[in-house]
């Protein structure tokens, strides 16, 4: 009951946040460009075309009405048409989503499986050399500009060592030698499902550099947070109790303490999603990764406001969803959470 109520309450606040986000986004996108219709048609527009498009886009109606129409269409999954590509924004976004999601999830996965153990190790050996090394490493991780790191990794691992591919999601040749049947559009998943090992390996190799670039910041952050949370937890009375009852050190660390420390780490993981999402913008540009980031940056630079609105909503929804999931997971990890 408590958990259900907690989840429902969180859902409600999430909804509130999303509506707020949509209003702000709408305001930014609709109020600011002073001639949206002209932008829509482009430089060669004639006045009658502008008038037609103004009507067609509903730009002649009062703003609140426009917002309601936008929301109404949104509920049908329609985010309007991109100015730059003239294709439905929903289609543009969903088409690129798998690529970004693959990168994002793999990057966050890397960050978690590297960051959490590093943090735990570091906390275990507080003050020792290992701790200092891990702390330095995580600080370097959060200090390295992704757009710079990506370039350097490319030069080292492709140009100098030639052990990893440079850019893109998969080698172009494979399309003919080992054609892939799309099922989910997640390359790794699809190639796994269809037992296309060659493509799987190649796609995986392509993913490494971008994912590492993306993961640098969250890894550092997670390692630091895990360390801090572990240190705090290890000071708690119940850890002293566990020690007082002769519980083995590794059980204390990896079960008694970690289960408590994982809660703040999860929160951070949820919050870093926002950082990681913007991180993909740089990573996708540098690694020519055909995802949302590249599309967003191009939309921004070409003032493609329906696309920007769509992307902002998409990003915010993703963020809210992830944090919702984190909160729900936390009610399982820590039975006290739903009481807060």
């Amino acid at each position: 009951m408590q958990r259900l109520e907690f989840i429902l309450r969180r859902l409600l606040t999430s909804l509130f946040v999303l509506v707020g986000v949509s209003i702000i986004t709408f305001a930014i996108a609709r109020v600011v460009p002073n001639n949206a219709a002209a932008m829509y048609i482009g430089p060669k527009a004639r006045q009658e075309d502008i008038d037609r498009v103004t009507k067609q886009l509903g730009l002649d109606k009062p703003l609140p009405v426009q917002y309601l129409i936008y929301m109404q269409e949104l509920t049908r999954g329609d985010l309007g048409t991109s100015i730059a590509t003239k294709r439905p924004v929903t289609q543009e976004l969903t088409g690129r989503l798998p690529a970004t999601l693959e990168l994002l999830l793999f990057g966050m996965f890397l960050a978690a499986i590297i960051g959490i153990p590093l943090g735990v190790l570091s906390a275990r050996s507080q003050g020792k050399l290992l701790d200092v090394a891990v702390r330095m490493l995580s600080i370097v991780g959060v200090s390295m500009p992704a757009f710079f790191l990506g370039l350097i990794l490319q030069i080292i691992f492709f140009r100098n060592l030639d052990i990893l591919p440079l850019a893109g999601r998969v080698d172009a040749d494979l399309r003919f030698t080992n054609p892939l049947t799309p099922i989910t559009n997640f390359l790794l998943l699809d190639s796994f499902l269809t037992a296309n090992w060659v493509t799987l390996k190649d796609a995986f190799l392509h993913l490494i550099l971008p994912a590492v670039t993306l993961a640098a910041y969250p890894t550092g952050l997670i390692a630091r947070m895990t360390r801090a949370a572990m240190l705090e937890t290890l000071e708690q009375d119940y850890i002293r109790t566990a020690r007082a009852y002769g519980i083995k050190q590794h059980i204390i660390i990896y079960q008694y303490a970690l289960k408590n420390a994982v809660s703040p780490t999860l929160t951070v993981l949820g919050l870093t999603f926002a950082f990681a999402l913007t991180g993909t913008f740089f990573v996708e540009i540098i690694f020519n990764w055909p995802g949302l980031g590249l599309f967003t940056v191009r939309s921004l630079l070409s003032l493609d406001y329906p696309a920007i609105m769509g992307m902002t909503l998409f990003g915010a929804t993703g963020y809210v969803l992830i944090n919702l999931i984190v909160d729900i997971v936390q009610t399982w990890v820590d039975p006290r959470v739903s009481l807060k």
Partner: protein, 295 residues
């Protein structure tokens, strides 16, 4: 409402500050980071005196020298327009440091009192303020910054405004966290019992206690904001050419990364080093003030 002056330095005993300094000075890494930060600040302030070619730093071209590799004349080489990269890195320290300081200071000024208010008042005030911060946090901060830059147009000032708007909620959260903790403490109630007004309680009793966690966060955020500014410039939404900006220089130089590596590498390193220094310093401050504080 007259807001009483916040007793800033006064409220921390001098011993505490001396303690902070002594810890930093004793730890070689922290000391190094402090020296780096001070050095970069001095560099920004005296850019015109230090830079070998101050006008080139500011943007003056020197077509004859285009893409000159590092040499005695141009220690860090020259860029596409023949401008001395070293001078541009030095002059670029200005916007690289001043704007983040500005962003962080304003984000704190906006965020902290709101957070203190939310935490102190509780109830619906808290609910409303925190939902609004949730809302701003839900925008990926760079995306929000970009959207605002998009709305207001490009430029350093707009990027700064955008970043302030996306950064203040962090300080609201921190200040609120402290304030909620303090609400349980009796001195707030004692002040209420004495008839002290809410505004005075917030500014005199609550905000001063948020200083150390905020200082820690602000130091770390300096680094993060420098990165974000660099990112915005890299995407073409921050500083506009020909003004010197590290992120912009990396962006412009990345095309030549393979053959004229110096154009992008030095500004990239500058960002990395300064951010690293702020993060190291922030870490030390965190250890001193509150080893358990984390976002």
């Amino acid at each position: 409402m007259t807001i009483p002056a916040i007793p800033t330095l006064d409220i921390e005993s001098t011993r505490t500050w001396r303690h902070v300094v002594s810890v930093i000075v004793r730890d070689p890494l922290s000391l190094a980071s402090l020296i780096i930060i001070v050095a970069f600040i001095l560099m920004a302030v005296f850019a015109n005196q230090i830079a070998p070619y101050p006008e080139q730093g500011a943007g003056k071209t020197n077509a004859a020298n285009t893409m000159a590799p590092p040499s005695a004349d141009n220690l860090f080489g020259a860029d596409k327009l023949g401008r001395d990269v070293l001078s541009r890195v030095i002059v670029g320290a200005r916007s690289a440091l001043i704007i983040p300081i500005f962003v962080v200071v304003f984000a704190v000024l906006l965020g902290a009192p709101l957070g203190a208010l939310a935490g102190y008042k509780g109830g619906w005030v808290d609910e409303v303020i925190m939902r609004i911060t949730d809302l701003f946090l839900a925008f990926p901060s760079l995306l929000l910054a970009m959207a605002i830059a998009f709305a207001l147009g490009r430029g350093l000032d707009k990027a700064a405004i955008a970043l302030i708007i996306s950064w203040w909620p962090w300080y609201t959260r921190i200040a609120r966290g402290v304030a909620v903790g303090l609400r349980e403490r009796y001195f707030v109630e004692a002040a209420q019992a004495a008839g002290v007004s809410d505004a005075v309680i917030i500014f005199r009793h609550i905000l001063p206690n948020t200083i150390s966690p905020i200082l820690v966060q602000a130091t770390v955020d300096m680094g993060t904001v420098i990165l974000a500014m660099g990112g915005l410039a890299f995407l073409g939404l921050g500083t506009q050419p020909p003004a010197p900006d590290w992120g912009l220089m990396v962006s412009e130089g990345r095309t030549y990364m393979l053959n004229q590596w110096w154009i992008a590498t030095y500004p990239g390193l500058a960002i990395f080093i300064v951010v690293l220094a702020f993060n190291l310093l922030g870490d030390t401050l965190r250890d001193i003030f509150d080893p358990r504080q984390y976002r």
